[in-house]
Symmetry: C2
Subunit: 195 residues, 2 copies
Amino acid sequence: MSVAALQQEDTRTLVLGAALRLFTEKGYFNTSVHDIGRTAGVSIGSIYHHFGDKEGLARTLYAALTARMQHLIDGVVRREGSSHDQARELVARLFAWAEAEPREMAFLLYARHREFLPNEPPVCASRPFAMMREMITRGIARGEIRQMDVMVASASLFGGPIRMITSRLDGILPQPLPGYLDEVWDCAWRAVATA
Amino acid sequence: MSVAALQQEDTRTLVLGAALRLFTEKGYFNTSVHDIGRTAGVSIGSIYHHFGDKEGLARTLYAALTARMQHLIDGVVRREGSSHDQARELVARLFAWAEAEPREMAFLLYARHREFLPNEPPVCASRPFAMMREMITRGIARGEIRQMDVMVASASLFGGPIRMITSRLDGILPQPLPGYLDEVWDCAWRAVATA
DNA sequence: TAAATTAGAACGAACGTTCGTTCTAATCAC
DNA sequence: GTGATTAGAACGAACGTTCGTTCTAATTTA
């Protein structure tokens, strides 16, 4: 990669980082493109050169983060093992990610994307959530999870863990998430497990 | 109440209704005060006379809805009975409310209030959520709920039901919420119940 | 008539966006 | 190897629009 291309990548990274920070701290609509440029140390023109418009910037950020989430889930599903082990591993990784990159998780879970990305489907309808439901379906087929409505099972198994993540992001959980993992997972699994 | 006072109440109600509708449909920042006035059939001046500014309007709406939520919870807590019965009744009422007034529930659960009401505490830190935690604490003391971290128990018991509500609001649940109540509650209670 | 309320035109600040220019570094000509 | 040429990245002042808010005149109420 040429020196120019490297600098170009730097600029994009700088801008995306500033946008993520400002969007999660102040919200999309309370953040101006001028703010982002100032925070990133990059000119307005540059931003428009790279991302087209403000919405394009948000879309790029959103795409990058959902891709990362997708990658995380793929890594879990690829591993062999029971549905129980897969789902637990998924929760463990989500906890770790939320702790390491709270802003990224906040942007994914919290931001009302529909308000500024009108053409994106709602988060719940996206691949990641669909794969969680597939995990459930497999678990029911294997007899690990009780026979029940898939949406109910999905909400019951992941609702608690996700709620823990949002509580942590809101600052009302004193300890890092991984410390709660065992107890949280115990509850979550009891909710849907057979026997 | 005089005729004037009645008309005044009408105006306020009209404006609040229009604001609720537009805020939930398009989001707070995509809704202009002019939009609200046009939808409500009321002048700009009227709105500023009654609510001070756009934020005041949002604050009034938020206060009215949290008061209603508070009232709903009070009604549940006042009834005597086990923690199990109280919590189940709470979920049942939340389901019914979400089905009857989806916009009100959406505004309470979804809207990123921090972005447009900077001085309000986050929803999770509000009275309603605190009372849910109290319900849990009592349940533990009575031996109905297993000994565990209160935050974990709260997330585990109510995380599933709340997730069902947001799914329904997102339109990815085909049936009305009350139809899922038995199955959802069964899962939720298993998550935290003793024995 | 005096006070309270409403109407909507007008205002000013802030925002997203555009565009002409400068700067940089790679490529080409000889 | 040196100077000319070119591509496109970065820049930021300026523009047009939108939005929240104010103001004043008209209307209604008591």
